[in-house]
């Protein structure tokens, strides 16, 4: 918190981030920036390094080299909770709610981690904060249910709810539509669009491209750890490299 945010620097700046696991280069000198309030899509084949990039940004794994700056401050090397406290939250592909806790308690834990309210004195406040978030993600009818008994579609919303309980200014969503179908995608997509409309900066990993492309203005494409393309959804759909590595001809046609 010591460095004053610069007005010129991007909200999030990724500079030459490389991550190696033994002989495998999961991320290879990835650089890009995200402006405040921007909604960015992050796509690429399975194993391209998308989740690894989220892990680096949120402090779950340190990069082998390179730098990440958030609101003008270098966050590379900070622990995940310290990064979360600065306003950078993320969700996980596989949802693991705290067992034995109700939905509203699972949400409250997200708020406690960032001291949104005082745990000892303000459990009523926790409930109120959880209710506010539950309204935004459509979980209000299930607040007292054991979180582990929720069906998959609602678990995906709980995952987003827990992250926004930390009151982030940047949220990384890892496949928010995975395992959802039809109408369920429209509902979660509606939640995300409202978060974006409220000014939250978002980076979204997703393979369900038609749903993704309605949410984002800009798309970043990773392949074998490298950034191979960057542009508007239209530009990405027309990009030959992206067609070959990721979309396939049929996939590109579905997107058009």
């Amino acid at each position: 918190m010591s460095v004053e945010p610069s007005t010129a620097a991007p909200f999030l700046e990724i500079e030459g981030v490389t991550k190696k696991f033994g002989g495998l280069t999961a991320l290879d000198a990835v650089s890009f920036g995200v402006q405040k309030g921007e909604v960015t899509g992050l796509i690429g084949p399975n194993g391209a390094g998308k989740t690894t990039l989220f892990n680096v940004l949120s402090g779950f794994v340190p990069p082998t080299s390179g730098r990440v700056a958030f609101r003008g401050e270098t966050v590379t090397g900070l622990r995940p909770h310290a990064i979360a406290r600065r306003g950078l939250a993320r969700t996980f592909q596989i949802v693991r709610p705290f067992p034995g806790l109700a939905v509203h308690e699972n949400l409250a834990v997200g708020g406690l981690s960032n001291r949104v309210f005082d745990a000892g004195r303000e459990l009523a406040g926790a409930r109120a904060a959880a209710e506010q978030v539950a309204t935004r993600v459509g979980l209000l009818p299930w607040m007292d249910r054991q979180a582990t008994t929720l069906p998959h579609g609602l678990l995906k919303r709980l995952e987003i709810g827990r992250a926004i309980m930390t009151q982030p200014s940047l949220l990384l969503l890892d496949e928010p539509f995975a395992g959802l179908g039809g109408h369920e995608i429209d509902e979660v997509s509606g939640c995300i669009a409202e978060l974006a409309a409220g000014g939250l900066t978002l980076i979204i990993i997703e393979h369900k491209l038609r749903a993704l492309m309605r949410l984002v203005r800009r798309v970043i494409v990773l392949n074998f750890g490298r950034l191979i393309a960057e542009g508007s959804p239209q530009e990405i759909g027309a990009n030959t490299l992206v067609r070959e590595a990721y979309l396939g001809e049929k996939g590109a046609a579905r997107l058009a």
Binding site: P151, G153, G179, G182
Partner: protein, 235 residues
Amino acid sequence: MLEVRNLSVHYQGAIAVDGVSLAVARGEAVSIIGPNGAGKTSLLRAISGLVPYAGDVRYGGTSLLGMRPDRIVRAGLVHCPQAGELFGEMTVEENLELGAYTIRDAQRTRDAMERVHALFPQLWDRRSQLATTLSGGERQMLAIGRSLMSQPRLLMMDEPSLGLSPLMRDRIQDSIQRIHQEWNLSIILVEQDSALALEVAQRVYILDSGHLVKEAAPETIAADATLREVYLGVG
């Protein structure tokens, strides 16, 4: 070939599947679609003998009610579970070999292995790698390949497109169509990707809250504005 009669599954008082009846003819491919929690996976698990149920499942005229899962596999009805559930710390080849556990004939196992490698050449290239090191698409190929090793006549697949990139999703679709058309297997496909479900199937069942709400040809469902709105969406 397969006939499900008035099948219900209960979990601790909650009803997951409520009186579902459906049928699959020899060589037919049917899809089951519907929202999360509709009972699709529970229905497959019941047919495979993995969860107790009320009602009856008849396969080639014989009742499968109360039959052990391994007997059901030996009878030719194989279930490829969601997310593969591979043996992660074993190699690709060992995973395939385990798929043939019920086949006690080395020659038949080798033949099955060859056919699986012809369908998924990447599995041959990766035969000595651990399953955990595979990409999402390769894992799905291995899961399907392992199911085929037991030489089923009816293959039940639970969300093979889950988490796959567009390109891999299309490859998996091609391989499902080959398994159906070239291998002449009957197929039950449970899918959230409704485009995939409609493209590979001759008939589609829609399940919602444990009930069967519609059975129709894919073209009929695609042409129905209400069904499209409620069950297909834009994803």
